[in-house]
Symmetry: C2
Subunit: 197 residues, 2 copies
DNA sequence: TCCTGTGATGAACATAGTGTTCGGAAATGC
DNA sequence: GCATTTCCGAACACTATGTTCATCACAGGA
């Protein structure tokens, strides 16, 4: 299953570049980072950058795959630990808030108000995938209701992301657990309503 | 109450510029519009542009004040028409979906996936103000609950905006009324839950 | 250990956009 | 009419992007 290993130099370069971007995002926010900044920080030639990535955005998206893997892994654990269905529903919520708590600075600069459009768009896509999968597994009955299931997915994604952003921006002095409680308190009734419809 | 009227040339120029930006956003999306494009389309000198607006973003924000006025006006009408409290709650929803239906192209390019970061950020701010005001008037009891009222505002704003975006992107073949129904079906139970908490 | 192919380098270049400046022309409103 | 405000547009300094190419360095198989 392991891909044929790429040249060590390639690994090194890509790692240096994504690392540099991450650092710089934390310092200045995505928008303000130039390709020049990145290759200076990574100590990599200009042409080398473009040999690997089409542009800044391309690099970002590649970098977010790390994040995606981490989140999917968290979700898997959450689903595996068998609790009551009540608690397992919306299981992505808690791990994600906790992940955000552990990487607060990163989240603030990526998903927060200062973060760029592409980051948020990408994050929304990622999150909606997570939620869509979870709903399919946990609440298959949703398919039969009057409300399109994709509408529920979008509703939940937006609501969650908005709360997360607000929290990451530091405008709420709450713990990850408290945030999770708030989200569940608001979202679970919505899902029950969706099932009734 | 009327401001001292500005020079007619000033009015003309500003109108020309905002009009041009709007046209160009519809054609290419905000990100791809350059200042050069705008002044070409508006047939206005370069220095004139910068005499009125600091940059592209500044012009956009000024332009969105039109939109804001329209929406606030819609909201006022909705609140005025005395219906049951059940129907008056979340009263911003219906008019906004209908406004979006009437300006579908505009919404698609502004709030839709192709739209820029600033536009969405601005729209989020606008919408959360709308919602915050409405909650304060309609559900004053929210202040006493365990869930911070601002969390509810953010939750609702995100959920609504996400639905609106999804719909405006044309991924849902639904009428404004249907969208409103969906949103209310999902959001009203959440609010009731918030009050119970 | 040697050899070969692949990746890395960096300077130079073409392109494009931004925001400022300023003297002169033109429209405005009184 | 006439003083005042606004507009014009060309020129300029800057910053950034993405490409090209000859040359060098290294990885990894033999």
């Amino acid at each position: 299953m392991t891909e044929r290993k790429p040249d060590r130099r390639v690994q090194r370069t890509r790692q240096l570049l994504t690392g540099a971007l991450l650092q710089l995002i934390l310092e200045k926010g995505y928008e303000d980072v130039s390709v020049q900044d990145i290759i200076d920080r990574a100590n990599v030639g200009r042409s080398t950058f473009y040999a690997h990535f089409a542009d800044k955005e391309d690099l970002l998206i590649a970098g977010m795959e790390h994040l995606e893997r981490e989140l999917v892994e968290s979700q898997r654990h959450a689903l595996a630990s068998g609790r009551s269905p009540e608690e397992r529903a919306l299981g992505f919520s808690r791990p994600l808030f906790e992940h955000a708590a552990g990487h607060r600075d990163l989240y603030r600069s990526m998903v927060g108000t200062r973060g760029g459009a592409i980051v948020q768009k990408e994050f929304h896509r990622l999150l909606s995938t997570l939620i869509r999968n979870e709903l399919k597994e946990q609440v298959p009955r949703l398919r039969e209701t009057a409300i399109p299931s994709e509408a529920v997915v979008q509703y939940l994604t937006g609501a969650f992301l908005s709360l997360l952003t607000w929290w990451a921006d530091g405008k709420a002095r709450m713990t990850a657990t408290q945030m999770d409680d708030v989200f569940r308190a608001l979202a679970l009734p919505a899902m029950k309503a969706a099932l009734r419809a």
